[in-house]
Amino acid sequence: MSDKAPRLSDPGLPEHVHRKADTDPAAAKKAERQVAILFLISALGTILFIYSYIWIRTDRFVYIPVMGSQNEQQLYMGLGLTVSLLFIGLGAIHWAKTLMPDNEVVAERHEFRSEEADRADFVATVKEQGAASGLGRRSLIKRTLGLSLGLIGLAPLVALRDLGPLPKKSLEETSWKAGTRLVVDPSNRPIKPSDLEVGGVVQVLPELAPGEERTLNNNAKDAVLLIRLRPEEFELSPERLSWTYQGIIAFSKICTHMGCAVALYEQQTKHLLCPCHQSTFDVPRAAKVIFGPAARPLPQLAITVDNEGYLVAQKPFTEAVGPSFWERSS
């Protein structure tokens, strides 16, 4: 197939036009000087780079409009490097454009397909050598080789097994237990209902047993937001209402979409917003999703006070916190 329609005729490569430096020795000399100057400017740039490295102090800052405050040493080293690199490039290109030959050259292309004879020879060789090896005839060898090659592929997979433990139930568990005190992050101070005003919000973590240390692994599941509303603002089922205490409601701070910290609380609308993907949760309605990609409300932690008047968890979370996973049931 091809386009058989008559075409205009190809006029062929245009006549070569000489540059000024090709015909005029003075112009060539001038171009040579220009290239040399460009290379010299580059050398000056490297000197600026070395000077800045040694003699400019590390702790000084300069202000550049738009770009803001910059470390003086890093700035001048960078500018020195810029000049040294850029002008080598400019010099080389100016040299190529003014002094090196600019005649266009034509080279032939050849089809990649091999000659018919070579292709036939190749097929014959493969067949002959294949037959000599007996791969086609000796099916026992073929099958056992296939089996062992297949099995050896499993070896690296097996060896990678120790990359990590099996998840077991750990994605569904947090450190919260019945009676765990809520403590303010990072001071680890227990909190009383009177510490939180209406409209207020505070991040809490479970109190640790003495000697235990907080890890990021725990925080990634345990972080809870306490929010205080007026009790009449809630639109909760009686059970969920019993999980609040004097207008204080507790939600997991870990987004049910992709696990970011749901950190933006809008006091006027009582919405919690996740800054990653804008999932929006309505606090008075048990953190129901009202916008964005999250498909589940934030898990609510049942809270009450202990006999000393400090806020504690009534019971662990009743569902897994954080993003969804295959084994999650609810």
Binding site: G78, I93, D102, A220, M258, C276, F325, S330
Partner: protein, 528 residues
């Protein structure tokens, strides 16, 4: 003979007697490369990669890829006494206490951004000019591989400092792994050495970022360049340029000087950006902790489209038989990108199926002369731009005081409406440009000179095109659509009727064109 020549001669002799290199070099030092600005896009990608290797090696001398807890006592006082990982601590050390450290970090980051931008621009050039056609399909697939790995490599790279912003990105990546049906939570626990975040991922992604992926990059780039070398570069159509030749400058000296010089220019530009333009100021974000986040969290630009897709996903999950499938993560995080990259990689084969064109092509298409392909490209670009815009929906909302919910809804609708619209508009534009080419060849250029004819009429003088210009505008092929009959010569229905109808339709769409001028048309004009 000068002493310099003698030394060079004996070195060359020594090497040649042991390798026979002279024969190969003699042929290849004068290898011809066509010249065009758009052929430099791939060069920029290559040079950025070299810059990344050089600056990256510098950074590894001080970077400590560990999540061991340390208390910061460096020269950046706002973070003094704060508990953080050794990775974050050493990144602060590089930024504030190593002379030139911040500069190298910033050049490295700018070069990564430029690397991805150059790859995308180079890919678009190859796509729109049809340079991926036979015999270059392998190189197209290698290129798509480099693009995909580049996204991963960039993401891992900016995750290494273990700051609050990058840790949030890792958290999101973990959620995508965890969302995979059946194997998700297992894969996540293997990748992170246990529950998120653990203390294993920084050392692990460090190895992948500095050893595994750069190794694969080197292998793929080598293969990519060797194929370019062996198959010879494509060229734009023009007088004297055919499918059988390649017209340009020899490697030595012109191309060496130009390409070598261009490396220094690319390096110089990234050095300038690294010197004056602050990028990824990790000291402002603080160390990573899963309980905190900064508003306006944004990935680097080449991840923005993925983030935008995730942000616009509908909130759908399936809960059944004590299991959960998160469509809100799987569709934007794995399924749509998977389809997109697969179609992209297979496009050379899809196009040759549509046109049944199995010939070698070394002359590039002008995009207007392949309206269907150009329109498909516009479809893809528009799709990406809408998702990218939605990836910045929070910034758009805060900068222009708009409702983020409305922006997200506009993008959701836009993702369905705008790409087909872009396809239709681009196709019409290409045909219009073909029409204007035809006009230009037949009637010449407008000169703006008005002439008063004896009988009082004013006409504008048109200057005919030169032969070279006329050839450039008319040298392309205009192939008729495939004739795929539903029945064969005996009137029997062919098998695969639906596939044939689809193919016939695609072929008709590809063949749509404004007839280019023929020699007869021109002669006719001359008679008038």
């Amino acid at each position: 003979m000068s002493s310099g020549e003698k030394v060079a001669g004996s070195v060359a002799n020594y090497v040649d007697e042991r390798t026979g290199a002279a024969k190969w070099l003699k042929k290849n030092l004068t290898k011809v490369f066509p010249d065009h600005w758009s052929f430099m896009l791939g060069e920029i990608a290559l040079y950025s990669f070299i810059i990344l290797l050089l600056t990256g090696v510098f950074l590894t001398f001080w970077f400590d890829p560990s999540q061991r807890d340390v208390i910061y006592h460096g020269s950046y006082l706002p973070l003094n006494g704060i508990k953080m990982s050794a990775a974050y601590d050493s990144t602060l050390h590089i930024s504030f206490d190593i002379r030139g450290g911040l500069l190298m970090r910033q050049i490295h980051h700018w070069a990564a951004i430029l690397f991805m931008a150059a790859i995308v621009a180079h890919m678009l050039r190859v796509f729109f000019t049809g340079a991926f056609r036979k015999p270059r399909e392998f190189n197209w697939i290698i290129g798509i591989g480099l693009l995909t790995l580049g996204i991963v490599e960039g993401f891992l790279g900016y995750s290494l400092p273990d700051d609050l912003l990058s840790g949030t990105g890792i958290r999101i990546a973990e959620a995508i792994i965890q969302a995979m049906p059946i194997v998700g939570s297992y894969l996540s626990f293997f990748a992170f050495g246990g529950p998120f975040p653990g203390t294993a991922f920084i050392p692990r992604i460090f190895t992948v970022h500095v050893l595994l992926l750069p190794g694969i990059f080197l292998a793929l780039i080598t293969a990519h360049l060797m194929l370019v070398w062996y198959q010879k570069h494509t060229q734009y159509p023009g007088p004297g340029r055919t499918e059988k030749n390649v017209v340009g400058y020899p490697l030595m000296p012109v191309y060496m000087a130009k390409a070598g010089g261009f490396f220094f220019i690319v390096f110089g530009v990234t050095a300038f950006l690294g010197a004056v333009a602050s990028i990824n100021p990790i000291w402002l974000y603080g160390p990573y902790t899963p309980t905190q986040i900064s508003a306006g969290s944004q990935p680097d630009w080449y991840m923005g489209w993925l983030d935008g897709l995730v942000r616009m996903a509908p909130p759908i999950e399936t809960h059944a038989f004590h299991h959960t499938i998160s469509w809100n993560i799987l569709i934007p995080g794995l399924i749509v990108p998977g389809i997109f990259f697969t179609v992209l990689a297979l496009y050379p084969f899809i196009e040759s199926w549509m046109t049944n064109d199995k010939r070698e092509h070394h002359l590039l298409d002008r995009p207007r002369n392949a309206p269907n392909r150009t329109a498909l490209g516009a479809f893809g670009i528009t799709f990406m731009l809408v998702t990218l815009a939605n990836g910045g929906n929070d910034l758009i909302a805060t900068h222009f005081s708009l409702s983020i919910n409305q922006i997200t809804w506009m993008c959701r609708i836009g993702l369905l409406v705008l790409p087909p619209l872009a396809f239709a508009v681009t196709k019409r534009l290409c045909l219009s440009l073909q029409r204007s080419d035809r006009e230009l060849v037949l009637h010449g250029k407008e000169t703006g000179r008005l002439v008063l004819l004896p009988h009082g009429e004013f006409v504008e003088v048109h200057e005919p095109l030169s032969d070279a210009e006329a050839w450039t505008l008319t040298q392309h092929e205009q192939l008729p659509p495939l004739e795929l009959e539903a029945t064969d010569v005996h009137g029997v229905r062919r098998p695969g009727g639906l596939r044939n109808r689809l193919r016939a339709r695609a072929s008709r769409a590809n063949a749509e064109a404004i007839a280019k001028p023929k020699p007869d048309d021109l002669k006719e004009i001359e008679h008038h």
